[in-house]
Structures are given as structure tokens and as C-alpha cells.
Point group: C2
């Protein structure tokens, strides 16, 4: 019998959709074996992860490939991507973290020039390095090996207009080239010039699955002997406001890694909690930690699972008010980000050197 | 009054189409000034060539950019492209000759792998070098600077699906990426990392004009200060058989730079001449050098203009029979290609080194 997972009350409804698209629920057994709070709380499904699991268990090499294409500062949503990458790095992977500045430029109207995209890359990379990635774990698109680019163009030969339009609903050239770079990101490390054929793992959101399927479809058509890439599917951190998405273009919706203590205080204070109208009602009826954006921050970013469960339980029972939880989160984030920002500051010079190649 | 050009009897009909598309007839004055048999005989129109002409006259720098994306051996049609390139090189241009192996791969179904495309590149490049281009005049797409690739992807942001579809009639991904590389080929040398802003010249066929117009349209949208690229339009050499195009995929339609003396003899002997049914009829009525594929070879490749005009005149008057002209062309090509093939053989090692970067 499968153990009950206190974090996964809502996943049952996905089961049917998973089966339809060929996804599988992520087994509790693997969660225990990987033993990391993000896997425990955030991974809901997988595609072909078994062979990566086997590599981890047997100490065999596999590729850890992910990336960030941002239009500005990184926010806490990006931190999850980096945390997952660090987890697979700790299992002995071959590491490929992509700073996707070209993709950021071609796919975002607000990024007007490549110069701007590269300055964003410097900022993002400094944060990535501050989290513990090393220079050799990362690559910057605009300054990467020509074999990678050639491969992106090669891939284009194997995708028909119909395949593309069925997946993305359009054939806009800027988005086409962003997608070609993404396929190259996921697959290029298996070329003989890099690591050679081996399993690879990329964490994505459920909404990105059509993209993952097209990538796997392309593998069958390419004239190279490649392993099918594996994917795990993460919950999406939502925005801080009611119904919002965490997005760089809506600053109030997200805590950014560059935010000041004042910004953190203001954003967390204004976050949607779903709390009751009065303190006495809250004490009587209890809160709704499942919909509370402040509790969500804890679920995505506070490593101590017992503590997070305790806070949510107290909230649910009306034993703690929203203000108290907000204060807890403000203190946690302020302390965490202050230390992180100091580290990022120190990595800026190296980041600039990597982006500009000098 | 414009001097009468003995080579251009058929161009009058284009005048109206030229005006409609913004092309201009290539003035006799410039032909005289450039003083080269190919310009005299083959250049029919231009777009914005005046500023390149000015650079040539004033000894100012301009970019000479062209290339070859082949699916196998080069034929005489490619030789015209190389000859034109050498002409502008002789005028002191900044030279960029592209061996378009990635484009060859993505746009040709018969080229199955990049390995195959690179072996074709080695062959093609050896011939190009044998014609007198130096290592620093050429670049090979699969082994070029990452700035070039990044730029190709950047360009994609500025082309809408509608622009592309209106120009090419489709949005097939392999062809999209081939086109993106072509835009980058024509424009990248004007980036600050290369030569900086200056006029550029690329010779193309009339059928490629929509492509040239899209390239110029893109220039207006890019966040770089670039000079509008100029184009000259060349007559197309047709195939050796009646109504055929000179094409690598139809070996009998073309003389290849790798052809043996026997192949040359056979192909020229079987070429369409439009000659009369009998020798006596030919002597009486005269030949049709304008439709004769053997005379066409002379017009495209035999430098001595007086001699070519003399042969055509004798043919027209029935003073010489097709067999005689064929023999003349066979001897000319056999001698020329034998010498050229020896040179190409000697360039193979260097070509391989350039393509594979080692």
C-alpha cells in the first residue's frame, strides 16, 4: 500500500490526464529514496524517470540539463529550478545549466537588444553561481560552442510545420527559434562531442509537456544514436496575489532574489492568504493554508518539512493568525535573501567574465 | 544615349518588372568601369549598387558576401558565383565566402547527415580555394563564430510568420532555419564584432529577389545600425538539355568541376544546340546561338569576348556547324578543368582542416 503523502492531496485528479498523455505519477518510493524536500513536496509526475533513477542508484553517469530564460531579475520560482539542479548535481550528474540569453531575447518583446539580454544574463548567472553552481556547470547561449548552434539548426530539418503548429498553435519565427534552442539544450549533451549517449533529466511544468513530447519525437528522427530524454513534472508556484502567476513582468506577484527587506515586507504583507474577516473568526473557523500564498512560500522554499507541516496545521486549526505566519516568512526570506545577495554580489565579476567570454 | 550591348538583346522585357519591384537595369557605364566579361554579359539588374560602385571608385571598404550550399559536387553554375566573388575581391573588398554546410543539410532531403554535409563542404571548399580564394576569404557555417549563430537567432525575432509566408509560400522549419542563416550570412559582417557598418554586395538570381527584399526589410527592424545590403542580379545558366536547369541532382544537365574528360565529351556532345536537321540546312539557314547550350557555356565561361561573339556570329550565319563548336567547347573545358582539378587536389588537405577546425 502506498504511504499517504501529506503534500499531495490534490494530485488524484491528475491521474487520468497523466495516463492519457503517457505520464506517470511520481512514486512515493522514489521520493523516499531521493530524500529531498522539493521532491517530496513538488514533484507530481514523470516521463521515463526510471532509467535516471537507476543511474543514480548504480552511480552511472546521466545528464542534468535545465536552464533559465528570464526577462529580468530572477524570482523564487527560478530558485526551485536551481534547487532541483543542485539536487541532481549532488547525485553525480553531468551538469548543463543553460543561461538562455538568446532565447530570452527572441521570445520576449520587452527585451529590446541582445546587449540587454546579456546584462540580464550576468545578473541571473551571478545568482545561479551564488546558489552553489560552479563555472563548469553552466553555459551561456550567446557564448557557447558552435556545435550546439549547428545542432539547433540540424534539428529544424526534422520538424514539420504541422508538428510544430500542433504543439505550439503557431509558427512565429522568434518562437520557432527559441524552441529550436530548447531542443538543442536538452539533447546536445548526448552528442559524441559532449558526453555521448546517456539518460538525461529535465524538470518542467505540466504545461510544458507538449514541448517534452515533441523533443522525444525529434529524437526518433535525428540521425544520431541518442537516449530518450527523461522529464519530471513540478508543481507551479503561483503568484502572491489572488489568482496570479509568479511572473517577472508583474513585480508585485513575486519575491525577486534582488528584493530589498522593505520590498519583501511589503509584498508578503500584501499577499493573499484567504484568511477570515476578523481575528476572532479566524480563531474559530481556522485558516486555509492550502490556498494561502504565504504558506505556499514555505512549502516551496522552507527546507524543514516538520516545521512547515506544523505551521500549516496551526493555521488550519485557528491557532495562528495570518499576521504571525507573514512575520515568520518575512524574517525567513529577509535573512535568507540578505545572505544570498551578498554571495551573488561576489559572483558578479565571474558571471560577467563567463557571459562575455573574457 | 545608351550603347547597344551585344549580350543583352532579351533584357528589354524585364524593364517593367524591374520598375515594379524596385530593381534597376545595370547601366552600361558601370559595366565599362568594372571591365569584366561576367559583368558585361551576365549582370542584368541591381538594387542599391551605386554605393558599392562609389566604394570601388574611392577605394573605400565594402563587404563582398556570397556562398554556396550544395548537395554534392560543384558545377559550372557555381563557378560563376566564385568568379564574381573574385572580381569584387580584386576591387579591395572585405571578403566573406560562405561554405553553407548547415544550410545544405537542413534544406536538402538527399543530404542525410551533417557528416555527409561536411564531406561535401570539404570537396566544395577545395575547389573554391583552387579558384584563388584564400583561407581568410572563406568561412564554414558548421565551424564558424558563435556570434554569427546568435545573430541568426536574433534575426528570427524580427520576422513575423506573415512576412515569411508571403515571401516563401510556406513556413517549413528546415527552410526557415536555412533562410535565417542566409540573412545572417548577408548581414553579420556589418556587426561591430566583424567589419562594422558598410555597404555590402551579393550577386543573386532574379528569382531570389523576394529573399533580398525580406533581408532589407529585416535591416530596418534590427536594433543595430546597418547599411542596407546591395544586390546585383545575374542571368541563370540553364541546363545542357533542352529546357533543363543546371542542377546537381540531374548530372546530365551540368558540367561538374569534378567531371572527367570522358564525361565532359559525352555531356557536351549530347547538349541541346537547336541546330538544323541536316548539315546543309544548317549552312543554308544558320544556327541559333541564343538557344544553344554549347554557346551558352562559352558566354558564361569563356573570357575572350571577341572570340565568343565571333563564334556565335559564324554559327548564326551557317558558317560553322554544331559539331565544330562542340569540339571547341570540349577542348576548352577539358583543358581548363584538368588544370583546375590538379589545383583542387592540392587544396584538399587545407579544406579539410578548415571544415573540421583542426
Amino acid at each position: 500500500m502506498q504511504a499517504i503523502n501529506p503534500w499531495s492531496s490534490k494530485e488524484i485528479k491528475y491521474e487520468r490526464a497523466f495516463a492519457e498523455f503517457g505520464l506517470k505519477s511520481f512514486p512515493e518510493k522514489w521520493k523516499k529514496e531521493l530524500n529531498h524536500y522539493l521532491v517530496e513536496r513538488m514533484v507530481i509526475a514523470h516521463r521515463d524517470f526510471g532509467k535516471v533513477m537507476q543511474c543514480i542508484k548504480e552511480g552511472k553517469p546521466f545528464i542534468n540539463i535545465t536552464g533559465i530564460a528570464s526577462s529580468g531579475s530572477l524570482h523564487l520560482g527560478h530558485k526551485v529550478v536551481i534547487d532541483m539542479f543542485l539536487l541532481f548535481k549532488s547525485f553525480g550528474a553531468k551538469n548543463y545549466f543553460c543561461i538562455a540569453d538568446i532565447e530570452g531575447y527572441t521570445s520576449r518583446p520587452q527585451t529590446k537588444t541582445m546587449e540587454q539580454a546579456k546584462e540580464i544574463a550576468v545578473n541571473n548567472l551571478a545568482h545561479v553561481l551564488a546558489f552553489g553552481l560552479s563555472k563548469k556547470d553552466v553555459y551561456v547561449q550567446s557564448n557557447y560552442k558552435n556545435r550546439y548552434y549547428a545542432f539547433a539548426f540540424e534539428i529544424s530539418k526534422k520538424i514539420t510545420r504541422n508538428m510544430f503548429e500542433a504543439t505550439y498553435g503557431h509558427v512565429d519565427l522568434g518562437k520557432v527559434s527559441a524552441a529550436l534552442l530548447q531542443y538543442a539544450d536538452i539533447l546536445h549533451a548526448q552528442l559524441p562531442e559532449f558526453e555521448g549517449k546517456m539518460p538525461s533529466i529535465t524538470p518542467i511544468g505540466l504545461d510544458q509537456d507538449p514541448h517534452a513530447r515533441l523533443t522525444r519525437d525529434v529524437v526518433k528522427r535525428l540521425p544520431y544514436d541518442l537516449e530518450m530524454p527523461s522529464f519530471i513534472y513540478l508543481k507551479h508556484q503561483s503568484g502572491l496575489l489572488e489568482g496570479s502567476k509568479m511572473s517577472s513582468s508583474e513585480p508585485a506577484s513575486a519575491i525577486f532574489l534582488d528584493d530589498t527587506p522593505e520590498q519583501i515586507r511589503e509584498k508578503v504583507s500584501n499577499a493573499f492568504t484567504g484568511g477570515r474577516e476578523t481575528a476572532s473568526l479566524q480563531r474559530k473557523l481556522g485558516g486555509k493554508p492550502e490556498v494561502c500564498k504565504v504558506c505556499e512560500i514555505l512549502r516551496f522554499h522552507y527546507p524543514d518539512s516538520a516545521e512547515v507541516l506544523r505551521i500549516m496545521e496551526e493555521c488550519r486549526k485557528g491557532k495562528r493568525l495570518c499576521g504571525e505566519t507573514k512575520q515568520f516568512v518575512i524574517e525567513f526570506l529577509t535573512k535568507f535573501l540578505k545572505k544570498h545577495q551578498q554571495k551573488a554580489k561576489k559572483k558578479e565579476k565571474l558571471a560577467r567574465k563567463i557571459v562575455y567570454g573574457k
